[in-house]
C-alpha cells in the first residue's frame, strides 16, 4: 500500500468506549472490537451499558447506548476507570459519556451528527465542538456519516441502510488505531449477512474505508499497540456471565446425570439466561417459560421433587415473588437453585443497571426460620464455577441455594480458560431405592431420616416402589416427616435445618488473601466487585501501603477461617454496591468495627474510588 508507515506506540493497557444512539449498533461494534481484542490475546473486561427503553427517541441522552472495553498486556480486572478513547456517534453520546473520559483522552466524534437538530435533542445550548468546552481533550472530528454515504453511493442501498453501516467505519478506524486485525470482523460479517450479500458487501466496504482512513489520514500521528497478555496457558474463549451461568448449569446436569429443568419468567437481565439455555435442548435441557416467577420456581421445585435438577433465575422483583416457594423448598428439603441477577432496586428501580442489591434479601427474605446457602459469583467466567457449585451444594445438602450475580456480571465479558470436563469437582447423586428403617420386622421409608454427615434427607423419586411418601409445607416430625405440631419437635427441626446449612462450611476451601497477608487494611468484598477491589489493592500496594483483600464466594455459611484473617489487619473495609449489606452481616457475625464503603449509582466501582477511600482512611 502506498502509505507511509506511522510510528507505533506500545501501551500496556487501554480503555475504549463506543457510544451512540441505541439504533447505531454500538453493542455490536463493541462486541466485535472485544472479539478482535481477545483474538489478539489481550486480557480484557467489558461493560455494556444500554438504555432501559427499547426504542428511546433517537438522538436523546436517554437513548444512548455504550460499550466500554478495557484491554491490556497486563492483568485487566475491571472495564476501566477512565476512558482513553471515546467514540461518540452523536452529541447525546458525547454528553452522556464525556465525564468518563480522562483528561487528555481522545474523542473520536462523528461531526455530521452535530447539526442544530442533533444538538437540540441532546440539549446542548452551544456546539461543544466550537465553544471550547472540549479543550484538554484530543478531538478527532470525522465526517462519519458523509464518508459512509460516499463510500456506498452506488451500492444500491437506500439512505437508511447506508446510515446503518456507519458503525463499521468507526470500528475499522479504531481497529486500525489499536493495530488489531480486520479478519475476525470480516469473517463475522460474512457469516452474519451470508444471505444478504448486498448488506454484507456494504458493511465490509465501509469497514475497510474506516481502516484505510486511519492509514492515509493526517489526523493520526501514531497508532497504538497493546501486546498479548501473559495469561495462564490453555485454550481460551471470550465469555459473558450469562453464557457462563448456562454452561455451569449444563455442566452440573451433565456431571450429576440429573436432567436440567429450568423455569423462568422473562426479566432483565435474567432473560438472557433463558435465551441461552433454550438453545441447548440437545443436552436434554428442559426450559419452561412460566406465567410468572411463582410458577417458574414452583415448576422447578416440582421437577426437583421428581428427581431433576430444578433451577430458576430472576432479578430483584422476581425474587420477591419466589420467596414463599423458596421457603417451601427449605421445608420440604428439596434441592433447588435460584439465581438472582441483581439490579438496582427497590421495585422496578434501575432495571438495566447493576447493584449488589439483594444480599440481605437472599439471606433473610423468607418468613419463618428459613436459612439456606447463599453463594456469589465474582466475574463473568467465575459464573460457570459458581453455578456448578450452587447445584452441587443444593443436591448434596437437599436444600435450596441462592446464587447471586448481577447485571454487570451477566452482560460483562472476559477471556475464559476453558476447563477440562474431567477436572470439574465430582458430582455423584444417589437416589433412595430402599426403605431406610428396619426394626423387628417393621420396614419403612422415613423421608426425614438424615445423612449423619451432611444432615441431608434422602431423595426418593416418585416412581420408586415401596418409598411412597408425602412432603409438604407443614412442620414435619423428625425422621418420619409426618405432620407434627409438637413444640419440642418444632424446635428440634428448626435447629436441624439450620445446622444442615451451617455444615456446608465444612466444605468451604481456605480463603485466599490477595495482596499483603497482613497489614494496614483488609478489603472484604463479594460478587462482581472483585476486579475493582483487587486493582485497588495493587495500586495501594504500589503507594507503599500494606493492603490485602478477601473475596467471598460463600455468604452463608461464611468461611470459618475469616476471623483469623481479620486478626492480621488494623482496619477492615467492606466495599459494596449498595447501602451496606455485607457489612451488617459481618458486624453481626464477628462484632468488629467494619468500615463500609458504598456506591449506589447503578454503576460498578472504579478502582480509583476504592483506592482513594482507603488512602484517606489510612491517613486519618
Amino acid at each position: 500500500m502506498a502509505v507511509f508507515e506511522k510510528p507505533v506506540e506500545v501501551l500496556p493497557e487501554a480503555t475504549v468506549l463506543f457510544a451512540g444512539d441505541s439504533g447505531d449498533g454500538m453493542q455490536l461494534t463493541g462486541l466485535q472490537f472485544a472479539r478482535a481484542t481477545a483474538l489478539a490475546r489481550n486480557d480484557l473486561a467489558t461493560l455494556p451499558d444500554f438504555p432501559a427503553e427499547i426504542r428511546a427517541p433517537a438522538g436523546t441522552t436517554y437513548g444512548v447506548s455504550g460499550y466500554q472495553l478495557h484491554f491490556g498486556s497486563v492483568p485487566v480486572r475491571t472495564p476501566g476507570d477512565a476512558v482513553d478513547m471515546l467514540v461518540a456517534m452523536n452529541p447525546a453520546a458525547l454528553k452522556v459519556h464525556l465525564p468518563r473520559v480522562r483528561r487528555g483522552g481522545t474523542l473520536l466524534i462523528n461531526v455530521n451528527a452535530f447539526d442544530r437538530r442533533g444538538l437540540e435533542l441532546a440539549r446542548y445550548e452551544t456546539n461543544p465542538l466550537e465553544d471550547g468546552s472540549l479543550e484538554g481533550y484530543q478531538v478527532i472530528p470525522i465526517e462519519l456519516t458523509r464518508l459512509t454515504h460516499e463510500a456506498l453511493a452506488d451500492s444500491g442501498l437506500d439512505k437508511k441502510e447506508i446510515d446503518r453501516c456507519k458503525n463499521m467505519f468507526a470500528l475499522g478506524l479504531v481497529l486500525w488505531l489499536y493495530s488489531r486485525p480486520l479478519k475476525p470482523v470480516e469473517e463475522w460479517l460474512a457469516q452474519k449477512f451470508a444471505n444478504r450479500p448486498k448488506i454484507r458487501d456494504a458493511n465490509l466496504k465501509v469497514l475497510h474505508k474506516g481502516y484505510h482512513y486511519g492509514e492515509t489520514h493526517e489526523l493520526f500521528a501514531v497508532r497504538y499497540e497493546v501486546r498479548p497478555a501473559r495469561l495462564a496457558p490453555g485454550l481460551y474463549r471470550a465469555i459473558r456471565g450469562v453464557e457462563a451461568l448456562a454452561l455451569g448449569l449444563i455442566a452440573a446436569s451433565h456431571q450429576s446425570g440429573l436432567p436440567l429443568f429450568y423455569g423462568s419468567y422473562p426479566i432483565t437481565p435474567a432473560s438472557d439466561l433463558l435465551h441461552e439455555l433454550s438453545r441447548h435442548k440437545n443436552f436434554g435441557v428442559m426450559t419452561f417459560q412460566a406465567e410468572d416467577e411463582i410458577a417458574a420456581v414452583g415448576a422447578a421445585l416440582g421437577a426437583s421433587f421428581g428427581g431433576a435438577l430444578g433451577v430458576t433465575a430472576t432479578s430483584g422483583p422476581g425474587l420477591s415473588l419466589k420467596s414463599e416457594t423458596i421457603g417451601l423448598a427449605v421445608m420440604t428439603e428439596l434441592p433447588l437453585v435460584v439465581i438472582d441477577l441483581q439490579r438496582g432496586g427497590p421495585s422496578t428501580g434501575l432495571p438495566t443497571k447493576t447493584e449488589q442489591s439483594d444480599l440481605l434479601f437472599a439471606l433473610y427474605g423468607r418468613h419463618g426460620e428459613a436459612p439456606l446457602p447463599v453463594l456469589a459469583a465474582s466475574s463473568p467466567g467465575d459464573c460457570f464455577y459458581a453455578a456448578y457449585e450452587a447445584c452441587r451444594i443444593a443436591v448434596r445438602y437437599m436444600t435450596p441455594v441462592i446464587l447471586l450475580a448481577d447485571g454487570y456480571l451477566a452482560n460483562g465479558a472476559e477471556p475464559w480458560r476453558v476447563p477440562d470436563v474431567a477436572s470439574l469437582p465430582p458430582f455423584a447423586v444417589k437416589f433412595a431405592t430402599e426403605p431406610n428403617f428396619r426394626q423387628n420386622g417393621d420396614v419403612r421409608f422415613l423421608p426425614y431420616r438424615r445423612d449423619p454427615e451432611t444432615l441431608a434427607r434422602p431423595w426418593a423419586r416418585p416412581g420408586t416402589p415401596g418409598l411412597e411418601h408425602r412432603i409438604g409445607g407443614l412442620e414435619k416430625e423428625d425422621e418420619t416427616g409426618n405432620v407434627s405440631y409438637d413444640p419440642a419437635n418444632h424446635q428440634r427441626m428448626v435447629k436441624l435445618r439450620a445446622e444442615k446449612v451451617a455444615r456446608v462450611a465444612r466444605e468451604i476451601p481456605p480463603t485466599e488473601v490477595f495482596g499483603d497477608p497482613d497489614g494496614d487494611v483488609l478489603l472484604i468484598g463479594w460478587g462482581s466487585t472483585r476486579g475493582a477491589i483487587e486493582a485497588a489493592v495493587e495500586r495501594l500496594q504500589a503507594r507503599g501501603l500494606r493492603v490485602g483483600s478477601v473475596h467471598l464466594r460463600y455468604l452463608n455459611p461464611l468461611p470459618p477461617d475469616l476471623p483469623a484473617i481479620f486478626e492480621r489487619y488494623y482496619r477492615l473495609v467492606v466495599p459494596e454496591l449498595n447501602n451496606g449489606q455485607l457489612v451488617r452481616v459481618l458486624r453481626d457475625a464477628y462484632l468488629r468495627p467494619f468500615v463500609p464503603l458504598n456506591k449506589i449509582q447503578g454503576l460498578p466501582f472504579q478502582a480509583r474510588e476504592i483506592e482513594a477511600f482507603v488512602a484517606d482512611l489510612v491517613q486519618s
Binding site: A38, R230, G284, V421, G463
Partner: protein, 402 residues
C-alpha cells in the same frame, strides 16, 4: 416415554356422533365394570410384598391393590360430615382399578381443607403452598411424563390465589387430573366468602353480604381452552367415580369441579342439586350422544336458537326427539351448558361438558428435545465449552510482554 393414561378415542370436534338419539354408546366411558371381586387374592392392608422396581401389579395375574392400599396411616382430620370424606373414599376406591402402579401416582395440592388430601393417600404426594399446586405439578409432569399426577385444590386455592396457574396449566394441557373441591367458602380460614360464593352471601368477612360477583368455574376453564371439563358432586359417588375415571382416561389436563359440602361454614350450598327430593328436577346429567332429559324422564332440554329451555315430555306436545342430544366434543354446546349456572328456570348440568384432543405439553416438550437432539446430535459438553472463538495460550509465550 410411556404415559400413565390410556388415550381416549375422540370424535372430531363439532361432528355429531353417528348414533341415534337415545342410543347407548356401546361402552359409555366411565361405566367400565369394576374388576370382579376375587380377581386377585385379597391382601391384608399395608403388607404388600416388595416388588422388583418396574413390576406392575394387576392385569397379569399379580395381586391387585385394594382401596386400603391407598390409605395412608395418618388420621383424617376433616370435620365430621365434611364432603371431603366422600371424595377421598371415591378416589381410594378408583385407583386400584386404574392399572397404574401405585409408586407412579402423585397427588399435589395447595392449601385449604381440601388440600390436606395428599396426606391421606398412600402414594407420593406434596402438600404445597396456597394456589401453586398447578405450577409444581407442571414441573413434575413435564420432567416425568410417566407419572400419574393428580392436583387437589379448593375454590379459593384454584380460583383466587392460584387463578393464574390454573388457566395456564389448562391452556398448556399437561396430562394431569385437576380436582377442584368447590364448597363456595374458605374452609380452612374459617368461613370467609370465596370467589365462587354467591352475591349477597353473609359470611364473617361479609356481614352485610358479599358484593363480589362469583366465578363460574366451568365457564372459566372452557374459556382457558381446557381440553376436558366436567362437574360432579360429593353426594353422588357413583357419578363422581365415573367422572374421575373419565378425567383419568383423558389425555391432557382434565378439570373436574366437585360440589363439596362444607357442613361447618356453608352447609347445604348445593343441596338443591344433591339431595334426593330436589335432585331429580334441579340436576341435569349430561351424557355424550344422549338426549338431555331430567326429572326421571318427565322433562327435557331443547335449544331455541342458542337458548336452552325446559320442555315437558309428559303432555304430548314434546317428545324425546325434540330434546337436545348432547355432544361433549362440541365447544359451542359446552358453552351453552356452562352458562346454566344457578338458574331457577333451568336444571344445573353435571357430567362431562367438553373434551377435545390436543397434544400435551410434556409430549411437545420432549418431542422438541428429541428433534433438536436428532438434528444437532447429542450434546457434547466439552465441545460446548469450547464453542465460539477460541485461542490458545502456549505455556512459553513466544512474544513475551515487556
Amino acid at each position: 416415554m410411556s404415559d400413565s393414561k390410556r388415550p381416549e378415542e375422540n370424535t372430531p370436534r363439532g361432528t355429531r356422533p353417528a348414533m341415534p338419539p337415545g342410543a347407548r354408546p356401546a361402552m359409555p366411558p366411565g361405566a367400565r365394570p369394576a374388576m370382579p371381586p376375587g380377581a386377585g387374592p385379597a391382601m391384608p392392608p399395608r403388607s404388600r410384598p416388595a416388588m422388583p422396581p418396574g413390576a406392575k401389579p394387576s392385569g397379569d395375574g399379580k395381586p391387585r391393590l385394594t382401596r386400603k392400599d391407598f390409605a395412608s396411616d395418618q388420621d383424617v382430620r376433616w370435620c365430621p360430615g365434611c364432603g371431603d370424606y366422600a371424595i377421598l373414599a371415591t378416589v381410594q376406591r378408583l385407583l386400584p382399578e386404574l392399572d397404574v402402579p401405585r409408586e407412579n401416582i402423585v397427588f399435589i395440592s395447595g392449601i385449604g381443607c381440601s388440600s390436606r388430601f395428599p396426606y391421606y393417600m398412600n402414594t407420593y404426594g406434596m402438600h404445597s403452598i396456597h394456589g401453586r399446586a398447578p405450577a409444581i405439578a407442571t414441573g413434575l409432569k413435564a420432567s416425568r411424563p410417566e407419572l400419574d399426577v393428580w392436583i387437589i385444590t379448593g375454590d379459593g386455592d384454584a380460583l383466587s390465589i392460584g387463578g393464574n396457574h390454573l388457566i395456564h396449566i389448562l391452556r398448556r394441557n399437561l396430562n394431569v387430573q385437576i380436582l377442584l373441591f368447590n364448597n363456595q367458602i374458605y374452609g380452612l380460614t374459617k368461613g370467609q366468602y370465596s370467589p365462587t360464593s354467591e352475591e349477597g352471601k353473609i359470611t364473617k368477612s361479609s356481614p352485610y353480604g358479599s358484593i363480589d360477583h362469583p366465578f363460574n368455574p366451568v365457564a372459566l376453564t372452557l374459556g382457558a381452552d381446557a381440553t376436558f371439563v366436567a362437574r360432579s358432586m360429593d353426594r353422588d359417588t357413583k357419578h363422581l367415580q365415573a367422572m374421575l375415571r373419565r378425567a383419568h382416561d383423558h389425555r391432557g389436563a382434565a378439570f373436574v369441579e366437585i360440589y363439596q359440602n362444607c357442613n361447618i361454614f356453608n352447609d347445604g350450598a348445593f343441596f338443591q342439586f344433591t339431595e334426593r327430593d330436589t335432585k331429580p328436577h334441579r340436576a341435569l346429567f349430561l351424557e355424550h350422544g344422549k338426549p338431555l332429559v331430567f326429572d326421571e324422564g318427565r322433562k327435557g332440554i331443547r335449544l331455541d336458537g342458542f337458548r336452552p329451555e325446559v320442555i315437558d315430555l309428559t303432555d304430548g306436545r314434546w317428545s324425546i326427539d325434540d330434546c337436545l342430544v348432547y355432544d361433549e366434543t362440541n365447544r359451542e354446546l359446552a358453552q351453552i351448558m356452562a352458562r346454566i349456572f344457578f338458574r331457577p328456570d333451568l336444571p344445573q348440568p353435571f357430567g362431562v361438558f367438553y373434551r377435545e384432543k390436543r397434544p400435551t405439553y410434556e409430549d411437545l416438550l420432549h418431542r422438541q428435545i428429541a428433534e433438536v437432539t436428532a438434528r444437532k446430535g447429542k450434546g457434547d459438553l466439552q465441545a460446548l465449552l469450547r464453542s465460539g472463538d477460541t485461542w490458545v495460550i502456549e505455556p512459553e509465550p513466544a512474544e513475551a510482554t515487556e
